[in-house]
Subunit: 146 residues, 2 copies
DNA sequence: ATTCATTGTGAGCTTAGGTAACAGTGAGCT
DNA sequence: AGCTCACTGTTACCTAAGCTCACAATGAAT
């Protein structure tokens, strides 16, 4: 208590902040009919030039492959992506964005923007910039003990 | 894609960072036999001078009261806290830290410190300071639409 | 006394993730 | 050819953490 423990408090703040972010995100995503994790997956899919494999997504999301399956299930049921077997290697499945998916993505970004705005409201543009570069530096590394 | 969307990326980084933090935390807490949320609750209990009520904890944790019940259940089963009925108002239950609880808290802080160290390793002391003050400012407000 | 607000909890659900086992496929090797 | 081994995704189950809804007990106020 009397100890400074700055790093501990830092972690506390970080986690609290993310809790709020999660909540705001969920709130804004609700009317779109998509969960935050699905949103993240969808955005990730859109980042690729060519349709990614499940394994690619799992790695990029820092998640076990099994977790991707469920998310893709939901998104496919919602019609925003579809699974396409790769002709050159019948083990892999490519995840392709549908037109509906692209439509949803637009809504998504808007919702996300609003959520972030809610949470980051107290920060000025410069402060966000600053925070951004700190996070960039922080996430640049390979991640702890991947 | 071509849009900057700095805030969006900022959120992305934040969430990724917290994901790592969660994982590291869980990893270090595992041998102590306590989950991250329980850890948070325990630390929160320790912050009070007088034993807090369930409702106090819920509010401070920014969580619905029902969520606290489960956590206290687990901690009580582990012997680190105990429920004490408040004599002056028989609706309220005070959460008291036991000696075992204090013992666990020490282990906890150590584990937490290690987890944070893992994740924040790339940052210098000054950078952490900077990050800390940004987060302080960010969390100072009443929170978005409480 | 009756109504209303507070306080904690039982029951049940959802999201997000994880493990373990497994089937299908490709690749390399004698 | 066969035989083994690594890779890819999925089935089946488990956990953590949180939520809503309903409710019982208690206190406060009219």
């Amino acid at each position: 208590m009397t100890a400074p423990d700055t790093s501990g408090q830092l972690a506390e703040q970080l986690l609290r902040l993310t809790r709020r972010l999660h909540r705001a995100q969920k709130h804004y995503l609700d009317p779109v009919g998509i969960t935050p994790a699905q949103s993240r997956l969808l955005r990730t899919v859109a980042h690729y030039d060519h349709p990614p494999r499940m394994a690619d997504l799992a790695q990029r999301l820092e998640v076990v492959p099994r977790a991707v399956t469920t998310l893709v299930d939901a998104l496919e049921a919602g019609g925003s992506v579809c699974r396409v077997p790769d002709p050159s290697n019948r083990r892999v499945i490519r995840i392709e964005l549908t037109d509906e998916g692209r439509r949803i993505l637009r809504k998504l970004r808007e919702a996300r923007r609003a959520a972030v705005e809610d949470v980051l409201a107290p920060l000025s543009a410069e402060q966000r910039e600053q925070l951004g570069s700190l996070l960039d530096e922080l996430m640049a590394g390979p991640g702890p003990a991947c």
